[in-house]
């Protein structure tokens, strides 16, 4: 992997696997927490907002680490992330004007 220049191949391998396992732990932990909250917290807008927030945390780790995007060139990162602004626009537009 690109972020391990001064390491021997064996060390780089160990570091990469450790990183993968850390991210696995985060994803599993957040999912388990969501699951626990679904049964302990009363349903409502507040809980839904927390669920959406946790979903974006998981999405960040999958895209950044598993899909390796955070180690790519900046212009590639931007050309993938910036178009998603249109989705935000659509959601905001529907939330504000969807009732008409």
């Amino acid at each position: 992997m690109a972020h391990s220049e001064n390491l021997t191949p064996e060390q780089a391998h160990k570091a990469a696997v450790k990183r993968i396992l850390t991210v696995t732990g985060i994803l599993a932990g957040v999912t388990a927490l969501e699951f626990a909250m679904a049964f302990t917290m009363p349903a409502g807008m507040g809980r839904n907002m927390i669920f959406v927030l946790m979903t974006f945390v998981k999405a960040f780790y999958i895209v950044a680490e598993f899909m390796h995007l955070r180690y790519e060139v900046k212009v590639l990162v931007l050309s993938i992330i910036l178009p998603c602004v249109f989705l935000v626009w659509l959601v905001v537009a529907l939330l504000l004007e969807g009732a008409y």
């Binding site: 999912t31 049964f39 899909m67």
Partner: protein, 246 residues
């Protein structure tokens, strides 16, 4: 007077270099996934729009019963687990499916990592686990769909006065027709992505196992199908939240 051209400052976009520092195939996979993200967003936003244009259930959570008059509470619909028929276990099976998909995503990164080390045996091992995870997820989904379609007694009273059990595209026992339509469309479209991902993984696994990648000198194809596979996992994270949790 000699005509020495003063070298102008060249930008990375003037040609000769790869500005994004990835191969053509990988870049196109990224742009395909971006377009696919828009498709899935369209589906999930449609779910939100249709859900909030139906009345929601106003009443005690524990007294909830299925009716076509209001949108169902998802955890009341998805509460069945294989071998535990009749036991009310909300979201347990979907939780298992989520973990299967996340784990198969992890084995996929491990395959990519092994590819960087040119370790053919390790790539084979982890790709095989990934394929098994994909097949396990699809099997779970097949069971879930079967259960959803056949339904659970006693069924629900339809607006035309008949009692209906299960679900199809025209009516369902859980709520308004749009609920089952969106279930079939969104989880079906995602399931089809998983299915094609498994097929791609099998093709690449075959090529790895026959030494094609090793002779080529790099395992970039594993990275490309890996991107697709992680994207399938990413979509499921969103489907899990917006369809099952909220």
């Amino acid at each position: 007077m000699s005509t020495v051209a003063v070298p102008k400052k060249r930008s990375v976009w003037d040609g000769g270099v790869s500005p994004m520092n990835v191969s053509y195939g990988k870049l196109m996979m990224w742009f395909f996934l971006l377009s696919d993200a828009f498709t899935f967003s369209g589906l999930l936003i449609t779910y939100g729009l249709l859900r909030y244009s139906h009345p929601s259930y106003e009443g005690d959570h524990s007294q909830f019963t299925f009716s076509t008059a209001y949108w169902p509470i998802p955890e009341k619909v998805f509460a069945a687990v294989p071998f535990f028929e009749g036991v009310h276990l909300p979201l347990v099976f979907v939780g298992i499916m989520t973990f299967i998909l996340i784990l198969s995503s992890v084995t996929m990164v491990l395959a990519v990592e092994a590819g960087h080390r040119m370790d053919q045996k390790d790539v084979e091992k982890w790709m095989l686990w990934t394929i098994l995870g994909g097949i396990a997820f699809l099997s779970c989904q097949a069971w879930e769909w079967t259960h959803f379609i056949h339904g659970e007694p006693p069924g629900t009273l339809m607006p035309d006065g008949t009692v209906f059990m299960g679900a199809n595209l025209k009516q369902n026992q859980y709520g308004p027709p749009a609920f089952a339509d969106l279930f079939f469309f969104i989880t079906g479209f995602h399931g089809f992505h998983v299915f094609s991902g498994v097929l791609l993984n099998i093709i690449i696994f075959y090529q790895v196992a026959t030494g094609v990648m090793h002779r080529r000198g790099h395992y970039e194809m594993v990275e490309k199908v890996g991107l697709y596979w992680h994207f399938v996992d990413l979509v499921w994270v969103f489907v899990f939240t917006f369809f099952y949790l909220i």
